[in-house]
Every structure is written in C-alpha cells, then in structure tokens.
C-alpha cells in the first residue's frame, strides 16, 4: 500500500478518534471554567486528573484492585471448572441436553445479578457474596459455549477417531476436547467478563470489596472529582482486562 493510503486508513481514524476524545475533554474544561456547565455536577477534567494520585495514595487503590482481581480469579476458577464440566456433561448425555439446554440458555439471558440481595442474606456482606455472584453470572455462557464447541466438532474428525477404534475416553480427550478448545476459550472469556462486570457492580451495590466499593464510598462522601477519577480508573482496568483476554485467546489459538 502506498504511504498516503496507509496514512488515510490507519493514522487518520486514530487521530480522529483520540482527537475527538482530547477535544471533548478540553471543551468540557473550557465550558466548566466559563460557568456554562455546573462545576458541582461535572468536575473539571483537570481536577479529576489531580484526584488520581490522591485516591491512589489515600485510598489504597492497589490493595483494592488486588481484592477485586482476587475475587474475579476465584469466580473465574469456579466458572471454569463447573462451566466446562457442565458443558461436557450436557454433551455426553444427550437426553439431559435436550431437557435442559433451553433452560440454560434462558438463564444466560436472565438478569441473574438481581439475586444479589438473596446472596446478601445467605452469605452476608462479604467477599463470598461477591464471588458467588460472579460465579453465578459467568456459569451459563461458559456451559453453553463448551457445549457448542463440543457439538461443532467436524463429523469427519469424529470419523477419523472411529476409524482408529478409539475408546470413548480417547475420543473425548484426543479429538472432541482439542477441537472444542477455541470455542471453550471464547466461553471462558465471556464467563470472565460477565463475572467481572457483576463483581464490580455488586461491590458497588453492597458497599464492600475493592474497586466497586471505592466508587461508592467516594460518592457517599460527595468527593466529586474523586468519584469521577475512580470511575475512570475502573473503566481503564476493565478495558485492560478485556484487551488482555483477547490477546491471550489469540495467542492460545495458533491454529486458526
């Protein structure tokens, strides 16, 4: 590709995108200073920026971050084990699959996070509630994707296995499971994302935990700039996790 067209197709959109963002920030700053936007509703971007180091040092952002990540890890671990096992089970026992697949699909689309008050009663205001919530939210998509991956194994590969007279266990471990692995990873990624969203959300709602709680606290203290800064921080973390997961998935899939 020629240099000008490279510029047009790669540099220009990037400039446009980030430029718009930068421009909006500067514009908002200007409008607030000019008094056109109420500074008690929208703090100045400059103030928000200054709040970052403050909350990092004062609010032990790092340990909060670690707490949220630990909760996410625990939930993901449970999701992986039960989600994949569930999908394998449903694949293995076709009758069970026929009976329950639509139920699982319905659960995947249902507002499961609304169960959190129930978990509050059962587990109290604790990390257990948060982890259980993450686990509950991430389970169904993982089960479904695992099932999908196993079922989508190309017929000819199953036939290859049969032609070599593989035992059912060999057939599963040497053919079905490896073939399904890419889709299973997609399921795990979805599960993790659902879990993380619910974890941070519930931390906010029950005012316990890591980053979610931080936002809630700062809001209740009417620390405007701090609240905005904390929200930005959480958004940043969420985006980073998401990008990381995509990279990981692509790295683990050299075969496609």
């Amino acid at each position: 590709m020629s240099a000008p067209s490279v510029a047009r197709s790669r540099v220009l959109p990037a400039v446009l995108g980030w430029g718009t963002l930068a421009f909006s920030i500067v514009a908002i700053e200007g409008l607030i200073r000019a008094g056109l936007i109420n500074r008690f509703i929208v703090p100045m971007p400059s103030e928000i920026l200054l709040a970052f180091p403050r909350i990092v040092s004062e609010e032990s952002v790092l340990s909060r971050f670690m707490l949220t990540i630990a909760e996410a890890f625990s939930a993901s671990f449970l999701v992986a084990i039960f989600g994949i096992a569930g999908g394998v089970l449903l694949h293995r026992f076709n009758l069970l699959r026929q009976a329950t697949e639509t139920w699982v699909a319905a659960l995947a689309a249902a507002p499961l996070v609304l169960i959190y008050p129930l978990y509050l009663v059962i587990f109290g205001r604790s990390a257990t509630t948060i982890v259980m919530m993450g686990f509950t939210a991430g389970l169904a998509p993982t089960v479904l994707k695992t099932l999908e991956g196993l079922s989508a194994t190309r017929r000819v590969l199953v036939d290859v296995g049969r032609s070599f007279n593989l035992t059912p266990a060999q057939q599963f471990w040497k053919i079905l499971f490896p073939s399904a692995l890419p889709t299973i990873f997609v399921g795990l990624r979805l599960g993790l994302i659902f879990a993380l969203i619910n974890i941070v959300g519930v931390e906010f709602l029950i005012n316990f935990g890591g980053l979610g709680q931080l936002i809630n606290e700062l809001a209740e203290r009417y620390d405007l700039a701090g609240t905005y800064a904390a929200i930005c921080f959480v958004v940043l973390v969420s985006v980073c996790v998401f990008v990381l997961m995509e990279r990981l998935e692509r790295w683990l899939r050299p075969v496609d």
């Binding site: 000819v156 036939d159 032609s163 070599f164 007279n165 490896p178 073939s179 692995l181 050299p254 496609d256």
Partner: protein, 289 residues
C-alpha cells in the same frame, strides 16, 4: 497394528500376492436407508474381492452408493446385509487392518504435521522419540519433509491431504481405503498427488481400494476398476487395467489409457444420465407437491 516390515519381507509378500487369497472380501452387501420418501436402496448386492498388493478403484456416478460402501467397508456403518471380511476375519466395527482416508479435510488443526502423522503411533503407546522417528519416515514418504512443525492451517489443501495420508499410512494398515481424497483439489495437483500415491503404493506394495468418480484417476492408479451403476448401486463391470508398471502421470497421454477411459466413460455416461433423469423426476414431483 502391523509392525513395519523390511524390504525383503515385503518382496516375499508381493510374490505371495500374485497367487494369494484375497485379503478383502466384500460379500453380497445390501444397504438400505429409510428416508421421508420411502426406503432407499443405496447398495444392491455388491460383491468383489481385493488381492494383497492390488490397487482397485471403485468408480460410479454421484449417488451410486460408493460412499455408503466406503463407510460399510470402513466399519463406520452397520445395519447391512452381507459381510465384509479382512484376511478371513469378519468385520465388526472399524478393522485394525483397514486405514481410512476421508474425502473432507481431516487433519487435526490443533496438532502439528508430525503430531498428526504420529497419532496412530501415539495410540499404540510408542514413546515420543520412537513415534517421531517413525512418523518422520512417512512425512518424507509423502514429500512433506521440512514441514514437520507446521500447523495444517499453514499448508495448502493438497499438502493437508498428504498429511492425512501419511497419518493413515503410519498405522501400517494392510488395506488402504480412500474416499475421493483428491476431490477438493484442482486437476494438476490431483495428477501430481496421483503420482505420489502410485509411488507410495509401489514402494509399500500397499493394498488399496480407492472410491472415486474421476475416471482419469481410476485408470491412472489402478490394477482393476470396478464400475458401479446408479442407485441402487450394483457392480456393472470390472475392467482390468493392463498398463505397465511403474506408472507416472505421463501415462495419461498414452493411447491405451485413452481407450480405457473411453470404455469406462461409456458405462458411466449411461448411468449418469439415468441419474440426471431421476433427479429431474424428483424435482418435478416436489414442485407439484
């Protein structure tokens, strides 16, 4: 799984083969299917034999039941009448002495070439070093040396079929059963791979049964060609191909070759046009329905 034999053993085996008992006996196979339109007879009393070291092709128009036969002989289909025996043993599921090569893409995309080829050796419990050593021999045999560590996605369609072939050969099957393995490839690649197959077959004295719809391929590679009728599939004719061996793809341009092709084409044309008329009849019936 048979162990790899030495060249002298193989020579002795081929001498035996000339007068030997057949290694594959397909006896009076009838296979019917239930469809929404009624009972379909795919294979109708088909019998034939294959001697050790022979290369036999089964050719027929689309819909003649040859893929059904492939699956029956391969042990992937049951519920048929008649029997299939390998070296005297009657078939009950996929037989260890039969190696299958499928029409579709069948390499394992998550394994490298060498891991694909070593698959049957892995199943047999060989150590990693041992099976890599043996697999490498077959990788070289199909002409893919240098590509051991590549993944199938990095190879062309023809190369992937060669990997499938090497994998099946690595199991040292007594009988190689192939279902239109080159169907998805272009004509030139087909001819060259045909050369490869000939070369391999000659080197290993491999008994081969090839299912195909391609006349050129059938005549180029085979000692005998069995022509099937359109559905219900029966054996219409058996043609002995008396072209000299060793053969290469150059044989395609010889006169004798042309005569064999014409003869078989005559038979197939008859069957193929029956097939076309049949399809038209069905289409008209379903349009009125």
């Amino acid at each position: 799984m048979a162990a790899m034999s030495t060249p002298s053993q193989r020579l002795a085996a081929s001498a035996e083969a000339a007068s030997a008992r057949p290694i594959l006996v397909v006896d009076d196979i009838v296979k019917r299917f239930e469809t929404p339109d009624g009972v379909l007879t795919a294979v109708d009393h088909v019998s034939f034999t294959v001697k050790p070291g022979e290369f036999v092709s089964l050719i027929g128009p689309s819909g003649c039941g040859k893929s059904t036969l492939f699956n029956v002989i391969g042990g992937l289909l049951d519920g048929y009448q008649g029997s299939v025996s390998v070296a005297g043993e009657r078939l009950a599921g996929p037989h260890a002495a039969i190696g299958m090569i499928f029409q579709e893409e069948s390499t394992f995309p998550w394994r490298t070439v060498i891991d694909n080829v070593a698959f049957p050796l892995e199943l047999a419990g060989l150590s990693k070093a041992e099976r890599y050593a043996r697999a490498r021999h077959f990788v070289e045999l199909v002409g893919l040396d240098g590509f051991e560590r590549r993944y199938p996605s990095q190879l062309s369609g023809g190369m992937r079929q060669r990997v499938s072939m090497a994998r099946t050969l690595a199991a040292s099957p007594k009988i190689l059963l192939m279902d239109e393995p080159f169907a998805a490839l272009d004509e030139q690649t087909r001819l060259l791979l045909g050369d490869k197959v000939l070369q391999i077959q000659q080197e290993l004295k491999q008994t081969t049964l090839l299912i195909t719809h391609n006349i050129t391929e059938a005549v180029q590679l085979s000692d005998r060609v069995l022509v099937m009728t359109y559905r219900p599939g029966r054996l219409k004719r058996e043609v002995a191909i008396e072209l000299p061996r060793p053969r290469t793809s150059e044989i395609v341009s010889s006169e004798a070759f042309g005569r064999y092709v014409a003869q078989i084409w005559g038979d197939l044309r008859e069957e193929a046009s029956r097939g076309l008329r049949d399809d038209e009849k069905h289409k008209r019936a379903s349009d009125h329905a």
